[in-house]
Symmetry: C3
Subunit: 305 residues, 3 copies
Amino acid sequence: MVSNKDLISIRDLSREDIEHILKAAKDIDENPAKYSNLLSGKILATLFFEPSTRTMLSFQSAMSRLGGKTIGFSDSKTTSTAKGETLADTIRMVESYSDIIAIRHPHEGSARLAAEYSKIPVINAGDGTNQHPTQTLLDLYTIKKKLGKIDGLKIALIGDLKYGRTVHSLLNALSKYENVKIKLIAPDTLQMPKEIIEDSKGPEIETGESIDGALKGMDVAYVTRIQKERFPDLEEYESVKGKYRITREMVEAAGKKLMLMHPLPRVDEIEPDVDTLEQAKYFEEAKNGVPIRMAIIAMLLGKIK
Amino acid sequence: MVSNKDLISIRDLSREDIEHILKAAKDIDENPAKYSNLLSGKILATLFFEPSTRTMLSFQSAMSRLGGKTIGFSDSKTTSTAKGETLADTIRMVESYSDIIAIRHPHEGSARLAAEYSKIPVINAGDGTNQHPTQTLLDLYTIKKKLGKIDGLKIALIGDLKYGRTVHSLLNALSKYENVKIKLIAPDTLQMPKEIIEDSKGPEIETGESIDGALKGMDVAYVTRIQKERFPDLEEYESVKGKYRITREMVEAAGKKLMLMHPLPRVDEIEPDVDTLEQAKYFEEAKNGVPIRMAIIAMLLGKIK
Amino acid sequence: MVSNKDLISIRDLSREDIEHILKAAKDIDENPAKYSNLLSGKILATLFFEPSTRTMLSFQSAMSRLGGKTIGFSDSKTTSTAKGETLADTIRMVESYSDIIAIRHPHEGSARLAAEYSKIPVINAGDGTNQHPTQTLLDLYTIKKKLGKIDGLKIALIGDLKYGRTVHSLLNALSKYENVKIKLIAPDTLQMPKEIIEDSKGPEIETGESIDGALKGMDVAYVTRIQKERFPDLEEYESVKGKYRITREMVEAAGKKLMLMHPLPRVDEIEPDVDTLEQAKYFEEAKNGVPIRMAIIAMLLGKIK
């Protein structure tokens, strides 16, 4: 990425690229004042063709913390897309109005398409069930910040591994590290797609359906929401919902070593009384979205080498 | 409030707290340039779970006038709340992205709940039919700016006193002052709830149903909108609507001393030809929302002592 | 405009006023750094009672590029208008919160009405099928930037000339120049309204229904979208849609001299393979919206003489 102008997929990044971004985010995290006017006069366009408050506010916050400004929309119903404008035309308009674009879109491949038409840098803020690279980078940042390394860790991915875009990106990113051991815990109908596993060669991968004892011995358990809106069939949703619910007992049984993560929002897949356990790191994870996105925006604009 | 980190209810404030805020607002009003960079680098999150353009724009304007930035949403349909996220989780996300929160929510008690979970200051921008403390403070500021005092005034509250949150807060605030005389003019079905009156001991309170002659001798007449959206029953709404309509004749008959207020938006409870009378102070009242909110934000962030 | 406080209609501007704005925009375009803090501390309110992403983002970008801030809304469903507030009251609220207003409204005459009530400058960002003066100014700016002049040009207006507000304003503006020759190419049911033509005395005007050969000899061809949402009758829309579609062959046959413009968004009235021809200037046109709006905002606030 450091040499490219866009951030579309975690697959485009080498381990070195990733480490470089994590290092920049760490410096921002530790010395925020150094960066508070770095992007003064710059404009980020947040083009959210589907709503995602968390990601949008995180990008807006990141741009503000860098001294820049944000323009954009959060609902495609009020855009010229509703009048029949193509994505290519929207991008060629917005690139005149801003210095960098963050795009969220319900269709796979749309961020890549946007980047092809755009003369200014494009960041993929989630395209359908495909990629969400800034989420993966903040996940990696959170792990490394807490555990000091990623090589050699034992990591369980739990919940909806089929439709959950964050776990696809994360698995791919982890495959760039050494001696990582992965457990994929999901109902059969929601297991990690084969093509994602084949594309993530490297880690030792074990799959399973039962959450009982699955946390034991793990360094990281990464839980994802069973996303109702990704299910074509409501009955299928009802049958799996709640099966992968993390309780306080499970987490305590797994021991102090465990680090419990979740991309949020959570519905009921982690019980609220888990929040106060020291293993629970998902709110810190969300917080880490700001320095990571600050690093990415500043690097793509050439303000951090 | 000065010592607390949140502003949730006018009931939490002593008379001294209120006077302290009004004084700070006055200084801001008179010396805006002094404050124009006070919150440079700070971020206000405006979390509007129900729409309120006036209040939101007023908060955004206040934050801008202090040199700060705003992030947020104005419609809960496009938030992760729609995906089933709890308010507590939303708050723990947003506190990572901002320095202070203004929350508007349809449910009573939600602002208090938000404050309990938040590590950063929370301002209640209206929670259901409960409280709207920044509105009350700007109302008090408007009265004091014009009349020089609040003690000893004769004040009529007119219209929907049952569902109107602003008059609840205002009555409570007035009870902290000396020798205030209050008239509560409303149809029986919309009179001020008993528990609010009991909670506002101090002023001499008189209730009545008829608006005829009610303005006479008053220092302030505070009119509220008969809010259609608060009525479970449309017929009830139709039967009372228009009964409490303020005309030019009424205001002229009441004399020059009267100060006519309204929290806005107004529908037809004050006739448009009243606007040009010197007694009409509701647009000045709206304007006063900016210095008052500037004072509150700056005080909660510790930038005004 | 230079002496007025508002920009409501292109008809209010003399040729000298227009030239003055174009000149200011040119200086901004060439020396952006000179203007980057001009409006520091100022607030633009963008009141969009109907959605228009392009225009809104362009205004927000312009204000940001001048160092100012923006507040506003993009959907009247979430405003107090939905509660029954009049436009006059909304304006008298917003003028307290901002320094200048850009208003977009579905009803003709609404921008003029807003200006009458407002103490701060008002810019019409489109009122129904009536006027959209900032679009016209950026169109003129685009022509002059490319061709060096407007006097003596041959200009074809093509497509929906009945409902298309931009072509109404543009025709009126062109009538202020010397020796302009205009072709109005549209289906009979969508021809330029007689009152607009009568109001635009000066240019030699020729009307026609066929697009065949219509581009030949033209300096500028200005194409507008057949706007589905303006048609009361869907059948009428279907019958004319596509008849006025610009192809690569047509543009190449017209020669290098031609400059092809479109206010955007485009649906299918210009084929995508036209985009790469050097005659296609519509994306540059969109880009020019920023310096033009910067010039207008700064002039109305008295910061450019």
